[in-house]
């Protein structure tokens, strides 16, 4: 039964794209991929822009300190099975930004990465190739297993919490508070 549905995974991967501090070169190339020359939609790919309905997370950029909690939050909001693609040299290792003071040297320190796409900036052909690889990995993944990134394992009792609570714990872990100006005139 599940084997039947698994076959169709490769036909309809929906992507979510997040920029964790890249120079936007790779972002432009992802946009170019969606354009008519490279046309990702012929593989059934839609840029959903919504983690809850996405299957592939495309991350560009070395993770800056402000982006990490956002990255984890988006990752946790994606339903399994899911794959993560690191687009560009910075996302893979930090690239030219490696060891800069506000940079965390690649996304695999935070979330498990399945495919690394090299290049500065990653060429559209490379991105398509990487996504195809990602789909192959994705086909083998199980939906039963909840993937909690290693960094979140530090949160006490993470196994017993549901995602909603884990996501709210992120604020504590990275000690970020978002204060909205409440101008009630």
């Amino acid at each position: 039964m599940f084997g039947f549905f698994k076959k169709f995974r490769k036909k309809s991967p929906w992507i979510l794209h997040y920029n964790t501090g890249s120079c936007n070169g790779c972002d432009i190339e992802i946009m170019a991929c969606l354009g008519p020359k490279y046309d990702l939609e012929r593989f059934g790919i839609i840029n959903k822009g919504n983690p809850k309905q996405a299957d592939i997370l495309l991350v560009t950029g070395p993770v800056t300190k402000r982006a990490r909690a956002r990255l984890l939050r988006l990752y946790m909001q994606m339903p399994e099975p899911k794959v993560v693609v690191a687009v560009g040299a910075c996302a893979c290792t930090g690239g030219v930004f490696r060891h800069m003071y506000n940079v965390e040297n690649g996304i695999d320190r935070f979330i498990p990465v399945d495919v690394y796409i090299p290049g500065c900036a990653a060429r559209p052909e490379n991105i398509i190739e990487g996504i195809k690889k990602a789909i192959e990995i994705w086909e083998r993944k199980q939906k039963e297993k909840v993937e909690v990134p290693k960094v979140l394992k530090e949160i006490p009792d993470v196994e017993t919490l549901d995602r909603r609570e884990i996501i709210s714990k992120l604020e504590e872990k990275y000690s970020e508070r978002l204060v909205i100006e409440e101008d009630e005139k």
């Binding site: 919504n50 809850k52 549901d162 909603r164 604020e171 978002l178």
Partner: protein
């Protein structure tokens, strides 16, 4: 026997009101209101089965004189209120009425036509007053415990007395008596609106007073002309003259339009919101405003098809759409309900004025189920106010986390006014179909457009408010169903059960309940089929569709409370940011600019109804 029953249904509320007022005791009030509820309902049901032909009664001549004296006293009281509260308009209008009334008394002929006239329509109104109205008084006893226990007796007494007045007004045949009772309802509403006694209440009460007095003046003018020209003093005599001038009918309809708070006069009903909530409930559902469609239905056979009828159709249609639109702009929960009442009242009058058998039935259905739904909603508004301190629709946000049962009742109340398969939807659907039928005879295109647009607006309005209430962040199974005082819950449960039963067995109601009333009004039964599916001529609403839609609308919300999918839960999408969500709703603020135009146009239309409809040109 029947005469005794009629007398009982009129007098019982008057007597109970007196007792409640004098004793001012919570238990006595509860006992008497329950007694009223039971006895009035039983009498209504019994009368329903026994009154097949119109019954007439001749009360002693003394009553006539008593009422006249009472009338003068009442008008003098209004005059005095105008002086005391420095509102010259009220006094002037009272003086005009005294003058006109004296003129009527001078020229009125002696008439042997019976003064009390009971037919199915009257009994229908008895049932609404007895069943829907008494429950509100029952609710009011508990409400006043939360509000102001000292004045409970006074408050409940006025409400119960109001029921008696209402029962009286629908029984009379004499237009002069009708005027007296019309003014009595004005008095009752005046007393109730100014009940809290603060400045706003008093001002709004005076507003209601002078606006309703205009209705009184138009009745007197109509009566004066009818006596002078045709010697008519009773409603039943209109049928005897075939070549009737439209002047008296136009002025009587105008009285109905004023009482029904149609557009230029809608402010008094909105102002009534300052009173304790049971007042709104009783004004909007069972009494007061329902005099308007009742009067239109009484006059319907005589004005049907005339120029007057067409003007009233245009006027009420305009008000129907415009007030529904204005309601979209409101934020106060009770004001929204008030606007929707005005809107639906215009629909009732529109249906009544067109006067085909089906539209008369539609008007009756709307009167009955609107009474129940509005009573339910206003009582819920009272509960919200007293228990959850929610007055504006913004206070209703996330209220499902605290009060799932209340939300369910509100849902039933709102959806029953607009959504398939509820009875009021069936009424609207019949109306649209009937109008399409008329399209092929003459063009009623405006009516059709009004129905389509107004229906859509009301649907959106109710969905918008429901949307705020059901916004939640908790799993529903973690929310306990709230416990409310039984006197709060019982009336609502009865209303909801009635709505649900009526929805399922709507055709039974149509055939055995509404069709006979239509027959008594225009002497012709609309050809409804038997069985559970609604069908008439080539129209059909099969029972399987009713039951499935019923399942969707009623059972899904109930199931939703208990169902629990065992999947992972996650937070809402917020662009990856830890933003605390804050939800609200939209208003059509762009309407603020045009609302004055709406009022001017409706005033012009109202004048047109009087001038052209009354044959003054």
């Amino acid at each position: 026997m029947i005469a005794a029953e009629i007398l009982a249904s009129i007098l019982l509320p008057w007597i109970s009101a007196l007792v409640i007022y004098v004793l001012n005791n919570h238990r006595v009030s509860v006992f008497l209101t329950v007694l009223n509820f039971v006895i009035l309902t039983i009498i209504g049901l019994h009368l329903w089965f026994s009154v097949n032909n119109p019954i007439t009664l001749h009360p002693p001549h003394l009553v006539d004189w008593l009422l006249l004296v009472y009338d003068y006293g009442l008008l003098l009281y209004f005059f005095k209120q105008g002086i005391e509260n420095r509102n010259p308009l009220v006094s002037v209008l009272a003086v005009i009425q005294i003058f006109l009334l004296s003129w009527v008394v001078l020229i009125r002929p002696h008439s042997e036509v019976p003064n009390i006239y009971i037919d199915k329509l009257t009994v229908f109104m008895y049932l609404i007053v007895g069943f829907v109205g008494s429950l509100i008084t029952l609710f009011a006893t508990r409400y006043m415990q939360d509000e102001n226990p000292v004045r409970e007796g006074e408050f409940v007494a006025i409400l119960v007395w109001f029921l008696g007045v209402m029962n009286f007004i629908v029984s009379v045949n004499n237009i002069e008596w009708f005027f007296a009772l019309f003014e009595t309802t004005t008095l009752a509403s005046y007393l109730l609106i100014r009940f809290r006694g603060d400045t706003v209440s008093v001002n709004n009460a005076l507003l209601a007073l002078w606006m309703n007095q205009i209705g009184g003046i138009t009745i007197l003018l109509a009566l004066l002309f009818a006596i002078h020209k045709y010697g008519i003093t009773h409603f039943s005599q209109f049928g005897e003259h075939t070549q009737l001038a439209l002047f008296p009918l136009a002025f009587l309809s105008a009285a109905a339009l004023v009482k029904g708070a149609q557009m230029p006069f809608h402010r008094w009903l909105l102002g009534a919101m300052v009173a304790p909530t049971p007042v709104s409930a009783i004004l909007h559902s069972a009494t007061m405003v329902k005099v308007a469609p009742y009067l239109i239905l009484r006059l319907s056979p005589f004005i049907k098809g005339t120029l007057l009828a067409k003007l009233i159709v245009v006027f009420t249609g305009f008000v129907f759409v415009v007030t529904a639109l204005l309601a979209l702009n409101e934020t106060h929960f009770k004001r929204i309900l008030a606007y929707s009442t005005i809107s639906l009242l215009s629909l009732m009058m529109l249906a009544g004025t067109i006067g085909t058998p089906i539209t008369i039935t539609v008007a009756l259905m709307l009167i009955a189920f609107h009474a129940v739904a509005k009573a339910l909603l206003f009582l819920e508004a009272g509960v919200l106010e007293k228990r959850y301190h929610a007055k504006t629709i913004y206070d209703l946000k996330h209220i499902i986390n605290k009060a799932p049962l209340t939300v369910f009742f509100i849902l039933v109340g709102f959806l029953s006014m607009t959504m398939v398969p509820f009875a009021m939807f069936v009424a609207k659907w019949l109306m649209i179909s009937e109008m399409s039928e008329l399209l092929s005879k003459a063009s009623y295109i405006i009516t059709v457009a009004i129905l389509a647009i107004g229906g859509a607006i009301l649907t959106v309005l109710y969905l918008k408010i429901l949307g705020l209430t059901i916004n939640r962040d908790e799993e529903s199974f973690r929310v306990k169903i709230e416990k409310l005082p039984s006197l709060y819950t019982i009336p609502n449960v009865i209303y909801v059960v009635l709505i649900l039963i009526a929805t399922l067995f709507i055709n039974t109601f149509l055939v055995y309940f509404f069709a006979p009333i239509t027959q008594s009004i225009i002497g012709y039964i609309p050809p409804f089929c038997e069985g559970l599916s609604v069908c008439i001529k080539n129209l059909q609403l099969p029972f399987w569709q009713i039951i499935i839609a019923f399942f969707f609308v009623v059972f899904f919300p109930i199931i939703a409370h208990y169902i629990h999918f065992k999947t992972d839960r996650t937070a809402e999408y917020s662009c990856g940011e830890p933003v605390k969500p804050r939800i609200s709703t939209y208003n059509m603020v762009c309407l603020n600019k045009v609302s004055t135009y709406f009022e001017s146009i409706s005033l012009a239309l109202f004048v047109l109804v009087l001038v052209i409809g009354g044959g003054m040109l």
